[in-house]
Symmetry: C2
Subunit: 151 residues, 2 copies
DNA sequence: GAACTTTTAGATATTATTTGCAATAAGATG
DNA sequence: CATCTTATTGCAAATAATATCTAAAAGTTC
């Protein structure tokens, strides 16, 4: 897991016969500049880019979110119900995990290097090339424990 | 995280004014008897029950998979692309995590109690009531590293 | 810059999941 | 046990996230 510059991303794309495009660079830059703790969905990213005056079509966004996740540049998160969210994939000092309330989707990020190390070790032991390692904790937050909401 | 008997599930449903039904008991039994390492999707569960002569409608299955996940009886996994999979949620000696190849979806289960403990501790520290704790490792398996597949 | 290949935008298709509703049945109450 | 209330079911229809198709545009190579 490494942090990518546009140049590094371009190099890695070229290794596989692929191309760097303005859209890919825009997406990379956007994720690198978005506030810490933000997890964008495809739709949200599309809206954000539209507002910022550099629109990219939704299908291109979908294609590249998947591509960049599979390259290890982004991490794909299934936090809330029904749609995937993405954030930049960063190495150790910034790497983190997620604790999510299954009722209200309130999410807490937390760091735990020993968990990351355990994940990296497991991948290595099995000969897998690590892309992302995320501890996902599903739970009920204090507020929702008090409420009488359906499940 | 506890293993549920039908009676325990019934008791917990009643606490919230809900009911135990034959369908819910069938789903619970099915997950408790399915082979270790099997992760069923809603559709697959529906087919399996049809074959076994106790069919349950797909919408009921969807409703109950969600309910039982939010009760902590099942765990909801996003392993492959495009659909959720479920397995019974078991405590420590059987509890495990998943290492997944993002290209071919080959999945390895592994145990790591210290990761589970770290997750439980984090939930507790934040006042969250723990339902499930899963380390998800996205990686590329040895076979796929050798192939020239797209991404 | 010509030839070749990948990528894009936009429209359309796909499909997992949810929802509305009438019928059914769980569980409570007397 | 008979009755009553209301949660739950099955089926059909709706929804929404994501994938795919195609022609046009833009990187790459020579
Ligand atoms: Mn995060
Ligand atoms: Mn498993
Ligand atoms: Zn909550
Ligand atoms: Zn693989």
């Amino acid at each position: 897991m490494v942090s990518y510059t546009p140049a590094a991303m371009k190099a890695e794309l070229h290794e596989r016969g692929w191309r760097m495009t303005p859209q890919r660079e825009t997406i990379l830059n956007t994720f690198q500049n978005v506030a810490k703790g933000e997890h964008l969905s495809a739709e949200e990213l599309c809206e954000l880019l539209k507002e910022e005056g550099e629109p990219i079509s939704l299908s291109t966004i979908y294609r590249n979110l998947k591509l960049m996740s599979r390259m290890g540049i982004l991490r794909e998160l299934e936090l809330a119900e029904g749609q995937k969210r993405y954030e930049i994939n960063q190495p150790s000092p910034h790497h983190h995990h997620h604790l999510i309330c299954v009722r209200c989707n309130k999410t807490i990020e937390f760091k735990n290097d020993s968990v990351l190390k355990a994940g990296a070790k497991m991948a290595d032991k099995s000969g897998y090339h690590l892309l992302d390692c995320q501890l996902l904790i599903h739970a009920v937050c204090p507020a929702c424990q008090r409420s009488i909401m359906p499940v």
